[in-house]
């Protein structure tokens, strides 16, 4: 491509209309308590994996809801399933099954 002296930045908006929300639908069907999340971040605060990586269950739920699946797929495998988040969540989200459900749903919709 010829150099025009400037670049067009890649659009970094969430394209909500075009993003598929199928993965979230599959996850929510498997673990409906995902709807209880109020994004308080307690899960990520207590998470041992979050200390070292960008892992955040709160963020993953939002990403799934917006159809931004890619980031979820790369980070969901960092969970140690220790269950601290489940013990800390003030809304009673069944977090361990939520994570397993995300993994299963990804496998089912063959994102991997």
């Amino acid at each position: 491509m010829p150099d025009f002296g400037y670049k067009i930045s890649k659009d970094r908006q969430i394209n909500f209309d075009e993003n598929s929300k199928n993965l979230f639908a599959e996850v929510a069907m498997r673990e409906p308590s995902v709807y209880r999340c109020i994004s308080c971040g307690t899960c990520a605060a207590t998470c041992s994996a979050a200390q070292f990586t960008s892992y955040s269950l709160r963020k993953m739920i939002l990403l799934l809801k917006r159809g931004e699946d890619k980031e979820v797929i790369t980070s969901v495998s960092r969970c140690m399933l220790c269950g601290k988040c489940q013990l800390a969540c003030p809304m009673g989200v069944n977090t361990r099954n939520l994570i397993l459900s995300i993994q299963n749903a990804i496998k089912k919709l063959s994102h991997v």
Partner: protein, 619 residues
Amino acid sequence: MFDWFVLPFTLGLVFLLGFIAWKFTSWIKSLTQEDQEKLVKSLATRKTLVSIREIISESLLHRKIFKTNRMLGYMHMSLAFGWLLLILAGNLESRIFNHGEMGPPYVPIFFRFFHPNPEIFRFHQEFSFLMDLLLVFVLSGVALAYYKRLNSKFLGLKKTTKHVMGDRIALTALWFIFPLRLLAESFSSGAFGGGSFLTSTTGSFLNSFLPSEILYYPFWLAYSSALGMFFVALPFSRYMHIPTETLLIVLRNAGIKEQKSHTGFTDVELNSCSRCGICIDSCQLSSAAAINNVQSVYQLRDIRYNTVDQDRSLNCLMCGRCDQACPVGIDIAAIRQIKRNELNPGMKEEYSYVHPAKAQQADVVYFAGCMSHLTPSIKHSVVQSFKKGGINFWFMDETESICCGRPLLLAGKSEEAKALMQKNKTAIEQSHAKALVTNCPICYKMFKNEYGLDIPVYHHSQYFAGLIENNLMQLEKQNITAVYHDPCELGRGSNVYKEPRKVLNQALTLISAEEEGEKSLCCGGSLGNTTISTEQRNKITQDACDTLLKQNPDVLITSCPLCKKTFQKVSDVPVYDLAEIVNGAIVINTKNKSKANQNSKIIKKELLEEEISNQTYPD
């Protein structure tokens, strides 16, 4: 001696024996090499005698079911033992009659058809009487089985098992066998005489208004057909447990156990389940949360018929109550675990970010575990108690916690768990400690059974018990009453029942709870179950807490951070961990300090000895 009506029975029997021989061979073949050797070695030893004794007491007399409920025990015994006696006595009768000739196998079964009113032979009257008596014995069992369908509570079962098609066919056949035998023998007696108090009386009664000469043959045919049908359906039904349980007993006595993956032994265990349903009643998912389709009986059935699904496999608290209740002694938790491993979604976990903790040299490594970070009073108390006892320790997961790996293991991710275990193991080894202490029963079980550490692993209750026993720590008795809750992973899971009580008895007055020791309830917080909802968990917790607090203790004590956190949610009385009680009751003695440096060594030795002599509680 032959008649066409014996064919259904004979063919059924041939099929059944062939099938059993084929199955047994293939199961034994799919045992591991090591297990096969164990089996061969055990055959010519005392273990065989032990097996025979166990087969008699369990497969025939059903001793363990008797323990659960007398009526239920009697029902099983009359059917199994009664039937066997009937066969043995029939064989003996037929042999005496035929002067020791064996003859085809159907002869003793249909003896009364061929010899309705036998020519006089030795003991013929006694035999007629005995055979009738045994038939009454078996029929009483059948009657109870009928009644159990109507009213299972009478036989001590709140819930009965839902059956599959094979079961229904076999069950129907079984229900008909003995009443048909009664009618066939009675009609023969009515037509030709013979029989004793039962068949003769019934025979003359029926003969008074029915044509026995015409009816006796169809009833013998029906009897033979019912037997044949039962034999053909048996391998595809729960009744496969009858032959398989004998093999299970032999294998188990040879020292064969469940492995990490499915072996021939697993198949034997699966087929040994009689689906009696005793496990359903012991399951808190059923009693407290009204979940009735995931219990062990269904899990084993679904694995056997290959219809298992992941959700139901994961819907189990893994509390071990059903293992404890199972009259056949099937290693249910291990089988469920194997299935979970197989059903693992198979996403490779990524733990390269986890680094082993930076080891510090110490006598004792203290590992609090993830959950304890949400119950700071526990770790605080352990640390304070260690300091008061002058113990040189390293708090391994004080700031950065790496999970012990058990939650992953329970979810069927054993490979992933290994990655974490390796990191923790490295740090523990680098510390050159002489013992590992953890206050979390989940971690304890994991470190003890899966890590293969060279140093002893103690739950804090064991460690404190050791300190007290060796006069290295003294507790002051306080005027409070308490109930102690046995955490599943510590009690049933690791057989530690005595030490927590020993420690607590020094510090307060323990009242016994309704369900304790091996029968202790799960708090509902279990990491073993990922599928149940928060509401269902709450119900289990409430139910368990109500049971524990029935005697109105001042406090509720447990020795697991997860149990503590779970009970705190619903308990009306304060919930403490054993460590908090110890820390509050320690009498500081300056003499202790000087001895302190030797502590870990002494305790190590003492506790190890004790562990060996550790018996089951409460016996």
